[in-house]
Point group: C2
Chain length 198, copies 2
DNA sequence: TCATTAAAAACGACCGGTCGTATTTTTAAA
DNA sequence: TTTAAAAATACGACCGGTCGTTTTTAATGA
């Protein structure tokens, strides 16, 4: 086995487990040891992969958002003349997975925004860029939908993308403590089937 | 000074500082010692006031929501025939204060929902009841506004109250990392000046 | 052989919580 | 009303453990 790929494999494993633990227990609620044990990486080796827990956190954030961007991007590319439908189907997919996970977790970005968004500059910047990338993609999808006539044009795509992201985040928090998918479903219905339509 | 009130005073001080620290640094990011030092209460005395950090957290949550409920309640009572205006003015007030605080903090409920909403049963229940109380009040205000003809009646007050709370929470998270009041302003405008009106 | 990297061991600081004890407050009997 | 017993509170030292990080040693590759 090539040595360089094993290191990359370990790094990937750390990031994956970082997502899981940070999501379930929060940033300060998760010790490096837990993550390291889950990937069988010695504690002393951690700093060969990341320079600090904070930098690790920032990397986890970027690692977390990637699949969401690529999935939404795929949906948008597939459905040529129905961008709004693509967005609907994308969120419906997410809701199904949330239900499968019994409403544990929610969104790592939302949780970390509240926990360390104001205290860690490094993570704050990572959160900023992650959300900006996500927002830009959603915005382009809504712009498509506007051109296709399925979404109101008296609001900018940016405004609607921000509103959708923010409401989704709030609904995810709510879902966690209500242990119900009603908030996220309501969120999608209110915005995608009503407010965004004119 | 009556001695019995000193205990109540200490307890109150602990709760107040608990709100501040939990909001700025999160639950796991805040040590009891920090809070105790801020109120000049010895470590050993803490457990005369609260049985554990977790129970303390649950109490802090209830302590936090109280002023918001009474403030919104006051606004609703004052403006007899303009419940929607009362809600608008209430949130406008909050926005001003958020700007004064330079967007540090946000909402304790939102932060704690993400951080410990899934791990601490005690705090989860406290969050549930706090939000339910807040939601019920907002719901009654929206119902008034419906009867007054200023809010659409094809959606239930409960649905709109939930949507407003969730969007507000998400916007507060967003505000923290963007260091701008634009998200919360947008949230109020989109819902209170558009979506709720028909 | 000698740099470079992985891993083990150790670091001090701090965590939430407990302990014994001193002091105060409450209760109830005298 | 006084007094004794009991319950509650105040307090700081201290518990075992874990935190994130650093230093030191072992292994590896050129």
């Amino acid at each position: 086995m090539p040595k360089s790929s094993k290191k990359e494999l370990n790094r990937e494993g750390l990031l994956n487990q970082g997502v899981v633990f940070f999501m379930n227990q929060g940033y300060h609620g998760t010790g490096l040891q837990e993550i390291l044990d889950a990937v069988n990486v010695p504690k002393g080796s951690f700093y060969n992969y990341f320079s600090s827990k904070e930098e690790f956190g920032a990397a986890v954030i970027q690692h977390y958002i990637e699949p969401f961007i690529s999935r939404l991007s795929t949906h948008l590319q597939q459905s040529g003349s129905d961008a709004l439908g693509a967005i609907r189907r994308y969120f419906d997919e997410l809701i199904v997975e949330l239900e499968e996970n019994k409403f544990k977790g929610g969104c790592l970005l939302g949780s970390l925004m509240g926990e360390i968004g104001s205290t860690s500059d490094v993570c704050q910047q990572s959160l900023q860029s992650a959300i900006a990338r996500y927002r830009d993609l959603l915005q382009s999808g809504l712009a498509q939908a506007q051109q296709q006539g399925s979404v109101r044009t008296d609001k900018t795509p940016e405004e609607m993308a921000d509103l959708l992201i923010n409401t989704w985040q709030g609904a995810l928090l709510r879902m966690q403590i209500e242990k119900s998918s009603a908030p996220v479903k309501q969120c999608c219905h209110d915005l995608l089937d009503d407010f965004f339509i004119r």
